[in-house]
């Protein structure tokens, strides 16, 4: 048995038992499910209650690294840096596979931040079509 699970207060337990066959509203389950799937801001009262324990348990960190995405990006960037340094910045057959796999991971990470919707050229903005034509794209698209 997990020692961290404390019994409900007697008063609350009595109130719950007094509900008999009354079912919990669906919203309650939705909110519980939501809180399991993503971060949900805790009520102020809860923060005030747990803040002393959190402060005692944690060490100060740079706020920017409190974001898991940035930390993950830092890890990927580090791997890329190490790979390039180790290879002497040379894409030789011997060492390019390792550095390229790191680079591919970085590319896929950044690309995943974009949701791309495929469109036909005429659905691009006039500026996009004009720039594409300047790069040599079939110029009919700018008509």
């Amino acid at each position: 048995m997990n020692d961290n699970i404390r019994p409900l207060p007697a008063e609350l337990e009595a109130e719950l038992r007094a509900l008999g066959d009354v079912q919990a509203p669906a919203e309650l389950w939705h909110r519980v499910s939501l809180s399991l799937m993503e971060e949900v801001e805790a009520p102020d009262e809860l923060w005030e209650r747990v803040l002393p324990e959190v402060e005692a348990a944690s060490r100060p960190t740079t706020p920017i690294f409190a974001f898991p995405r940035l930390a993950a990006a830092a890890a990927v960037l580090f791997l890329v840096t190490i790979s390039f340094v180790a290879s002497g910045f040379q894409p030789t057959a011997m060492n390019s596979s390792a550095s390229m796999s790191s680079h591919d991971a970085l590319r896929d990470y950044y690309a995943s931040r974009v949701t791309a919707v495929s469109v036909t050229p005429d659905q691009l903005s006039p500026s996009a079509r004009g720039l594409a034509a300047s790069m040599g794209a079939s110029i009919e698209v700018v008509r």
Binding site: A71, P91, L124, S127, G130, L131, A132, A137
Partner: protein, 340 residues
């Protein structure tokens, strides 16, 4: 260990390793290798690439054909005339159009003439291929002279093939053996599919240049010098964070389109990323009025493939951003996604 601690430690290590002098890095070498037998790229740091002369730098009238795969997969062809005076002045005119794989050329209408008039400088600078940086080419490409002699515009020509060591495609040059003039090129993607090509039909190296109207920038341009120039743009450009393998940043410029076209076309921040041969255009501007509607803050991009040339268009922190090039979509998406 938490993400925060891992991130902090890795960044610190990265900084320390990055500060090591070149000679102290394990495996550091001075020469570049291509890893491809039979190519002159092996140990290419000491070897010169072909000593090309580019048409726009020469004195000539070059009648040529530009061919590009369109969005339907058909080949569109354009007959062009390039005039150049050897001092850097040039003019690129359109002389014929054959779209959708049609065999015969038709005379260009006013639309085509206007299109070339406004874009000729960009076509020569950003579409046409040339070696921008020899060291980058040595690092990023295997370089080989293809066997045999080919004929183009009545000239005996050699062919040189630059293949990306990162599987990002190739560029083949056709060079006049006598004058070293580039008479043609072929751009293929990483799968070997044709993207576009140019070939010379006729060449006159003693042309009568009287009456030629030399190209001029339609909209004034100037170098972007950082935040002091942001008032010209109305925003602070987002920096490019991710570079496809072998690519590096380019000079940042401002195109003052409002001077020519008024407020309907906001000024443009332009940066061209290069790997020595191939260009990726990254442009940013305030959202164009009637330009397709606003995007939410998360990056939702429009993606279009026009032949082998791909266009990404999305809003990054309320700045309309365009990434355009002949690289795979995933590379261009990463450039865009990293700017957020």
């Amino acid at each position: 260990m938490s993400f925060a601690r891992i991130g902090s430690v890795l960044i610190l290590l990265s900084a320390v390793v990055g500060c090591l002098p070149q000679g102290s890095r394990p495996g550091a070498r001075l020469s570049y290798t291509s890893g491809q037998s039979g190519n002159i790229g092996v140990g290419a740091a000491a070897l010169p690439l072909a000593d090309f002369v580019y048409p726009e730098d020469a004195t000539l009238r070059q009648d040529r054909t530009y061919e590009v795969v369109d969005a339907s997969g058909n080949l569109d062809r354009y007959r062009e005339i390039l005039w150049a005076d050897g001092t850097g002045q040039f003019s690129l005119e359109i002389a014929g159009v054959a779209e959708d794989g049609l065999p015969s050329f038709s005379a260009p209408d006013a639309f085509w003439q206007s299109s070339y008039l406004t874009r000729q400088r960009y076509l020569v600078h950003y579409r046409d291929f040339r070696i921008h940086n020899e060291n980058q080419v040595r690092r990023n490409y295997t370089w080989s002279e293809l066997p045999g002699t080919t004929t183009m515009a009545g000239r005996n020509c050699s062919r040189y093939l630059a293949e990306s060591v990162y599987s990002l495609g190739s560029v083949e040059f056709v060079m006049d053996q006598q004058s070293k003039l580039i008479l043609g090129w072929i751009r293929r993607d990483g799968a070997g599919n044709l993207v576009c090509q140019m070939s010379t039909d006729a060449l006159n190296e003693t042309p009568n240049l009287s009456g030629v109207v030399w190209s001029q920038a339609i909209a004034p341009e100037q170098e972007y010098n950082g935040p002091p120039d942001d008032n010209l743009l109305g925003f602070s450009p987002n920096p490019v964070i991710y570079y496809p393998a072998g690519f590096s940043h380019g000079v940042q410029r401002i195109i003052l389109s409002q001077v020519t076209y008024g407020s309907q076309i906001p000024n443009l921040h332009l940066e061209v990323l290069r790997d020595g041969l191939v260009n990726i255009m990254v442009a940013q501007q305030l959202e164009v009025i009637g330009g397709g509607g606003a995007f939410p803050e998360i990056i939702i991009a429009r993606e279009a493939e026009i032949g082998g040339i791909r266009v990404m268009e999305g809003d990054v922190q309320s700045i309309r951003t365009y990434v355009i090039g002949s690289l795979p979509s995933q590379e261009l998406l990463a450039v865009l996604g990293a700017m957020n």
